[in-house]
Symmetry: C2
């Protein structure tokens, strides 16, 4: 039952635990949470959560998208988006209207208030840029590496 005396010593050599921190996944998992914690106080005055802000970025870029289009862009399914969009409708930032050509799809449209929010969100991008603590080129390089990793992971799913 004294199975871990030497194992723990080895694991801790170098000033910290190894097993967990050795994992790239744990690093990304932690960085993702750190990002949302950084965004939270910036988005709170706008009445948005981070996933809701992602939806707004999509809509500011191109208004009137279907739920499916948003889901494909963001990597989210209707189980996530339906209630999220309903909350955004409650907040008054989007409208949800069933498409005339195809009654199955629901188009998400910005309200005037939602469109105005784009200007008010300028400081968010600035603050995040500053929080990154690196140049835009460095951030872009890291982003490309992470995106390539994600592509490799998704390649062997469905």
């Amino acid at each position: 039952m004294e199975k871990k005396a030497e194992k723990t010593m080895q694991a801790r050599s170098g000033g910290g635990q190894m097993v967990l921190e050795a994992n790239l996944c744990f690093a990304i998992y932690g960085a993702a949470h750190a990002f949302t914690r950084t965004y939270k106080p910036l988005l709170e005055p706008l009445g948005l959560t981070y996933p809701q802000y992602l939806v707004m970025l999509c809509l500011w870029e191109e208004d009137m998208q279907t739920v499916k289009a948003l889901g494909e862009r963001l990597g989210l399914d209707s189980g996530t988006l339906s209630p999220l969009l309903k909350r955004m409708e409650q907040s008054g930032y989007v409208r949800r209207e069933r498409s005339r050509e195809d009654e199955r799809q629901v188009k998400i449209a910005l309200t005037d208030e939602g469109a105005c929010l784009e200007a008010r969100s300028a400081n968010v991008r600035a603050a995040i840029g500053a929080a990154l603590g690196c140049t835009m080129d460095e951030a872009a390089a890291l982003r490309d590496e992470v995106m390539a990793l994600k592509a490799r992971l998704m390649q062997l799913e469905g």
Copy 2:
């Protein structure tokens, strides 16, 4: 009302949308989800979710840790860990026993079944290693970059 004709064209130049994909945060957010989706089918036969697997990694490295110690290591608070550990107790992988020296703390201990799981999880690490699609050195380098980014983000929180 035709406010986005040229904007959309510009945004799409280069073969894809820009606003969203330009963000490092969105890349990490997506990669984190891709990781958990990769882990899911590997951990399902073991009866673990990814956060539960992280707890097991902690405990395999050092048994009998307090909830607080696990939380600091994993970056999770008691609001997340309490119900998670209760589910792991239901699964039969850990026991929760109040400390004798300090009745406030609860020590989490592996059951025999939980300890045995370590051997059965060998294929998980192998499969993830293969799914990464890069060498261990490359993965370690990316991990260090992501950890450094996380450290910079956390630096200007509390």
